[in-house]
Amino acid sequence: GGPRAVGSGSETVSEAVGDANPLPTTAPRLRWRVTSAFGTNLPTLGENPVEVADRLRRASAGRIDWTIDDPGEVVPAFAIVDAVRAGKIEAGYTWLGYDQGRLPVSVLFGAVPFGMTPWEYSAWWVRGGGRELAREIYRPLGIEPILCGMIGPETAGWFRKEIRTPDDLSGLKIRFAGLGGRTLQKLGASVTMLPGGEIFQALEKGAIDATEFSLPEVDARLGFDRVARFNYFPGWHQPHTAFHLVVHEATWRALPEPTRELIELACGDGVHRNLANAEAAQGPAIAESERRGVVTRALSPGLLRALETAAHEVLREEAAADPDFARVLDHQRRFRARYA
């Protein structure tokens, strides 16, 4: 960091030295710009970091003063981890898997096809050594990862036509990200990565047959339920989705302990509240889209089996190509084996 890091750094140093009071009302403020990967207007996904920041502000009597920026306002969504690593911003709130192009293992901390459920992931992160493993990988990169939000399964996607067997996937034009996309590709689907803003129109006009995006609640706000008749469950590609606060490591270490504690507390609360909000909101959202004529369906067991086989193949390939990926995947699997 340049002069600004010196500025905020000296503020926090004086806080550390000068005051034993955990809420030093005379201490300088911790003013950070925190870029979120999700628009602050998006229900559940985007609201969570804003709530975390609000609670921190209240709990610290205004000493911890974060501005939550929308993606692209200051930092583009996919550049958050990179920008934090380089100290260009102090912290960001993101889905770590956005970084899988440069750090393949990152996706294992975000969401894995046929991977852990939210409670399994919590157990793994808190008690199973997950947090330590994440630190081991991220600290050398200059980043402190803090679990800060989580949601349950997303939908398996919005489809214009019915999907019954694996054969229906063959030739299906679908927008699907990351490892899930690779899985579908193995089953013959034609995967694209249209930019978010073009999905609606492409789906409406039939340039694509299906898309996944996020939670039903979020998708409905974007209008997918108007243009696609079928909404499939379960979200096999993301049984849980975890979000992390990523903090520039040097900045994190320079923080006084009460401040660090407060941030960790707020993030712990963020995970809890995020899950609660997500779960509570989905029922009404699904009911509302069904009222509009959307058919909610479960993927057939045969189809799910085919997807699972393909997903394991994709994971195996990834593990063979990247030692870190292999290590974390193995760690997660061993934990789940003991847990089950």
């Binding site: 380089a86 956005y98 192009g101 440069r102 030739g171 299906l172 034009k173 996309g181 690779r182 990565m193």
Partner: protein, 176 residues
């Protein structure tokens, strides 16, 4: 028009002309890639993320080289409400200080921030995160500093030209 028609062009300007010509063919390639992608998807139900990504790869190279070319040919947009009423000498002074205080510092900032950006991408072996996306992202990322080095060279050549006019070295012609 800019300096295109001036006799006695420097080697840099000739090179710039050639680079502009060569890089302009990316648009033809881009058209081809889009048409192939559309036909593959609509006729054969075959989506290729490689082709989708190739589209913006080509586009990025094209627009970056366009920014360079515009500097060389003095085509960047100016608000000329007052400029038209200025003497040639005043225009040159404005260009001189503009290049020195605004343009070059900005190019320096981009270069300074783009270099580590590219190096990081190379070290991390960054590739596309999408199914079947393109590898070697650092190649495209390195187009940013490369084009800005060219941009800096073109800018410096303009500075020299304006400076010659201002500080008397023959060439009495005014700027655009």
């Amino acid at each position: 028009m800019g300096d295109e028609a001036r006799p006695g062009r420097s080697r840099l300007e000739v090179t710039l002309d050639l680079v502009t010509d060569l890089s302009s063919w990316v648009w033809l390639a881009l058209i081809a890639v889009i048409v192939v992608a559309v036909v593959l998807r609509f006729v054969f139900s075959l989506g290729r993320i490689e082709l989708e990504e190739l589209q913006w790869h080509l586009y990025a190279v094209g627009f970056l080289m366009g920014i360079v070319a515009c500097t060389g040919f003095d085509r960047h947009v100016r608000v000329d409400v007052f400029r038209e009423r200025m003497s040639a000498r005043l225009r040159d002074w404005i260009d001189f200080y503009g290049i020195l205080l605004l343009q070059l510092p900005f190019l320096a900032l981009v270069l300074w921030s783009a270099l580590p950006f590219v190096v990081d991408s190379f070290v991390a072996g960054e590739r596309s995160a999408s199914a079947g996306g393109l590898p070697f992202r650092w190649i495209l990322k390195s187009m940013l500093p490369i084009s800005f080095v060219l941009l800096a060279l073109a800018t410096l050549s303009r500075l020299v030209r304006v400076g010659r006019r201002l500080f008397g070295d023959g060439d009495p012609g005014g700027g655009r």
